[in-house]
Point group: C2
Chain length 276, copies 2
Amino acid sequence: MGEATRQSVVVLLGAGRVATHLAPALLSAGYRVGQVWSRTMASACALADPLGIPCTDDLRAVITDADIYIACVADEALPGVTKALVASLEAASGNPLLLHTAGSVPLDVWREAGARRYGILYPLQTFSKERAIDMREVSFFVEASSEESSAAVEALARSLSRMVFHADSRRRALLHIAAVFACNFTNAMYAAAHHLLAADDIPFDVLLPLIDETAAKVHTLTPREAQTGPAVRGDHQVMQAHLERLSSMPELQHLYEQMSRMIVTTHNSQPTAHNS
Amino acid sequence: MGEATRQSVVVLLGAGRVATHLAPALLSAGYRVGQVWSRTMASACALADPLGIPCTDDLRAVITDADIYIACVADEALPGVTKALVASLEAASGNPLLLHTAGSVPLDVWREAGARRYGILYPLQTFSKERAIDMREVSFFVEASSEESSAAVEALARSLSRMVFHADSRRRALLHIAAVFACNFTNAMYAAAHHLLAADDIPFDVLLPLIDETAAKVHTLTPREAQTGPAVRGDHQVMQAHLERLSSMPELQHLYEQMSRMIVTTHNSQPTAHNS
């Protein structure tokens, strides 16, 4: 399997954050990336040119003899892109594997597009174009239309990462929601802190050791065990002082109240066992 | 100063998380920790015995010839502890430096207790007894009653950490609030994710690479630049699906709505320049 897989030709549909990180990872895993499609020629070529990959903005011009097609487009664009892709490939003789990378779009989007052999390759990570990501450390969640295609997606995922799991669409959606809390909302908390300090010209960087330790702690403690601060201590005097200080920022004040309430509830309800 | 400082005798008041991390850091910085006081003998000795330090639960029995006294007690306990300490030291001939480590308690708590030479040694970090902390990487914020005591607190802080800053009580309280968002509320987001995954028997550990990268990103990008996810993408379809999925958890559903709103607001308002 290893060798066969490694000579496969992959077409990337989309040139956003996920595609931008997948392309070099696929190349270094030994795949040939035969083409990059994007809605605009500019974005397609911005990703493809530096890697010496042909690019197009026309779904009818997508090469039809690739082994794997990976759609990395915005969720709302997926139904349109999957249908157009399946239509372009209809005439072709091959039976390629059609994948998408979205956390919250069900496998059915491919069935509804009329695809025969399809699946999901969902990388649970936050991708920014400015940052390199070690794909071997990214958790990939895979799902497919059949035993055979499932094995093929898993082989692809394993060639990119050492952390590959199977998850049906229901579980994948749950993982995506959990990721929104653990990553997107966490970053929004950093932004709130940044905003507070910037008002007093205090550099955000003074918080970095704290931010790092907060992330490091949950490698060895459950979040419940790792929780510190006024709320979990029941330090109402401090919480009151903080709420007064935030009176000029009603949104942050409300958030402070709600999070503090949640910390108390969670702490009195959630399991302690480290879930691993 | 170096040598003088290193031979100073320190008394720790409190045996909680901060004291537990300060004691060994003081010892390895060359201080002699002359005594540990705590409200209960059990907690005082639990910290002191393994380090060969005398312990007591009687504030009137605190040794009076130490050079530095550091109160690491809960904020609401500080007024009582500082008053009792000053009273115990009244008869003594020395003029020790009296410090506390609280983020949100003003310097005045010492003045009100009748202290002469006092200050603040605030470590901006999340301390759990289960985890070792490299104190040299902890941001310390210092404040004091005079130029002379300010220099003394700074010397103490610099012997423990390479990151020492001056901050008056107003700025220190702001730093504490920012830390609550960046650490305590961030950890509460991890807890929410843990809770979501546990309901489906998915190990929390699959999120660790994501959590680590989310923290790592804000070392090189502002939180605003680092923001990813459905809210900042304006992906209403995904947000709607997530909110429906959270309908059985109204608290998390409300939080999801509010955080998503905040991400959109922040993204349209906050400065992009990396604050460092």
